[in-house]
């Protein structure tokens, strides 16, 4: 079914325009429509998994190729896009479910859901698009909505964080657009597959190298890779909890890591120099993110630094470039969305019930908030890499991939990174749930039902996601996804066909 492809963008975009109109009269419209949209999209994404081995191209507006030259915008659905769609829409579904109760805290729920839907449309668009300029437009849609969502509380800290985030984000977009322009001047086309074809014909000149650098800086800024990470620890904790989960869980991956991977592997072509650059960036991210997380006393800030460190793992697997490394990276991407989403939602539950983000003021919450504390424990075990939770398997695969590729030093750094992860998550766990209470917690209650349901869904996913590695299951789900990357520039012929 080719016609289901644009629905991923059309449905949330349509919802974003309808909501402000009907939300004025009807308070609950946001809750209902946003959840309907995310459930539909999640269903659609899971239904699409059956096409995971195929590459389907949708021509927007019916503008196909003329004399073999694509002139319209292409939306491309292949293994990697479907995988990313499932991840994004899963976390979006859980986040909207969680928002029903959590966003009672804030004043204007309708505007919140409108921005949420815009962000979702942007992310789905980035994942599906096969056109460079379209990629830029969707990145901007997702990014602008996220700037506004970070500032949603309109307190001093939130505004400051949003300003910082937007300045860095705009610089990143500027670099990305500059790269796209230079590619256009070199190849005379904007279709990703066509750009790849021209580069294959003409050979990669110095200009293509310059473009590579621009893309690494631009998407690195979006993905908060370490030299460009300064905005993330401010922006992600300042947003409302479901948005923190979206930003850390999927936004940095879908508008930072995913386009970079797609361009490097499928369009420009991956080689040893790029691989070394990515591995070095990944190791720095893992170490600096992990070390800075250790010093934090603000729970959400600790989690934000940990996101930097976990994105380092994903980049490491992608930088290795071996099939096993890519498998580990993609699996870790899925797992990171699940457990980091869950951790941020748990931190939101604590803020909702206790009213603080400072670890020193928490404590003894394991008896007061049983569901939050159990689900948080599951997420903490996952991120720390305790078997049999999902985080263990993905980190194990990445480390084995390093050893298999003969990079023992890199494997050592990855192990050190996972020890750091264990340390900071243990600190958070101990102070928040088991340590002595820093304040009176006698009247703290468990959070409302929808929030608990959202937490339980993600906790179950954290426990069972390891099953994706079972034989037969991995052949049907993970291997085709890895294949789309390892087959490299064959992407061009699958799209242009």
């Amino acid at each position: 079914m080719v016609n289901s492809i644009p629905l991923f963008v059309v449905i949330p975009l349509g919802c974003a325009f309808i909501l402000p109109v009907i939300g004025r009269r009807w308070e609950r419209a946001g809750d209902l429509f946003a959840n309907l949209v995310t459930v539909t999209l999640l269903g659609l994404a899971i239904w699409s998994v059956r096409f995971i081995r195929e590459t389907t191209v949708y021509h927007v507006g019916g503008w196909g190729a003329v004399n073999g030259i694509p002139i319209g915008i292409y939306l491309v659905r292949d293994g990697l896009s479907i995988f990313m769609l499932v991840v994004v829409n899963l976390i979006a579904f859980v986040a909207t479910l969680y928002s029903i109760n959590y966003m009672e805290y804030f004043t204007d729920k309708t505007k919140y859901y409108t921005l949420f839907m815009l962000m979702l449309a942007g992310m789905n668009g980035v994942i599906l698009t096969g056109d460079f300029f379209n990629l830029y437009v969707f990145i901007e849609i997702a990014a602008i909505a996220s700037y506004a969502l970070v500032a949603f509380g309109t307190e001093a800290e939130e505004l400051e964080a949003a300003f910082k985030y937007q300045v860095m984000g705009s610089v990143g977009s500027g670099f990305i657009l500059l790269g796209i322009i230079l590619l256009y001047s070199y190849t005379g086309t904007l279709n990703m597959a066509d750009v790849g074809r021209v580069i294959l014909d003409k050979g990669a000149s110095n200009l293509v190298w310059f473009v590579n650098v621009l893309f690494i800086v631009g998407f690195g800024l979006k993905a908060a890779v370490v030299p460009f990470h300064m905005w993330l620890p401010d922006a992600h904790p300042s947003a409302p909890a479901p948005i923190s989960a979206m930003l850390s869980g999927v936004l940095i991956e879908s508008i930072g890591v995913y386009p970079l991977t797609r361009i490097m592997y499928n369009v420009i072509g991956f080689d040893g120099v790029l691989s070394n650059i990515l591995i070095v960036l990944a190791i720095i991210s893992m170490m600096i993110g992990g070390l800075l997380a250790l010093w934090q006393w603000d729970y959400k800030r600790l989690l934000a630094y940990s996101s930097i460190s976990q994105v380092g793992y994903i980049l490491l697997g992608i930088g290795l470039g071996t099939p096993l490394g890519l498998l580990g990276a993609l699996f870790h991407l899925f797992n990171h969305s699940a457990f980091k989403g869950l951790l941020f939602l748990d931190s939101g539950s604590i803020v909702y019930s206790v009213g603080t983000r400072d670890l020193r003021e928490m404590g003894e919450l394991d008896r007061r908030m049983p569901i939050t504390s159990k689900t948080n424990l599951v997420a903490a075990m996952s991120i720390a890499g305790v078997p049999p939770f999902n985080g263990f398997w993905s980190k194990l695969i990445i480390i084995i991939a390093c050893i298999q590729a003969g990079r023992y030093g890199v494997a050592g750094w990855a192990i050190l990174g996972s020890i750091l992860t264990f340390a900071y998550i243990l600190k958070a766990e101990r102070y928040a749930f088991y340590g002595k209470a820093g304040r009176d917690v006698a009247d703290v209650k468990e959070s409302p039902p929808f929030m608990c349901i959202a937490l339980i869904i993600l906790a179950v996913i954290c426990v069972v996601a390891g099953l994706m590695l079972l034989p037969n299951v991995r052949e049907t789900i993970l291997f085709p996804v890895v294949n789309t990357l390892t087959s490299g520039t064959e992407y061009i012929w699958r799209v242009l066909r």
Binding site: F133, Y136, V137, E140, I144, Y147, A148, A151, T154, E155, A156, E157, L159, E160, A161, A162, F163, K164, Q166, V167, S170, V171, G174, L177, L178, I181, Y184, S185, L190, P233, D234, S238, L292, W295, Q296, D298, R301
Partner: protein, 111 residues
């Protein structure tokens, strides 16, 4: 070639403004300069010497400028308008909360 280099230079001037200036609105102006440098470069990419507008049907052998970048720049300008409006709005709200536009004094977030 010189046009392109001047475009890149303008981009770098904008980046300098973002990185070095201390006033919120000067940072925003830096961002705008960066954005417009990229737009200018984009329009330049489509430029052809002695080219005309590509709207006359049935003319062979004439040089046309590339219309695609012009259309895209229009789109990008609209996006730029949106981001600039949002960030200027944020700056105004920050001024209301902190009473200053100096980023050295706006630092409640640390660590």
């Amino acid at each position: 070639m010189i046009h392109y280099l001047l475009g890149i230079l303008l981009f770098v001037i904008g980046l300098y403004g973002v990185l070095v200036k201390r006033n919120l609105f000067k940072i925003i102006i830096g961002l705008i300069i960066m954005e417009y440098a990229t737009f200018l470069l984009f329009a330049l990419v489509g430029f052809r010497e002695h080219g005309t507008a590509p709207i006359q049907p049935g003319v062979a052998g004439k040089v046309f400028v590339d219309p695609l970048p012009q259309a895209l720049v229009l789109t990008a300008i609209v996006i730029g308008l949106g981001t600039t409006a949002l960030i200027a709005g944020l700056a105004v709200r920050i001024y209301e909360k902190y009473g200053t536009l100096d980023i050295r004094k706006i630092k409640k977030l640390k660590g």
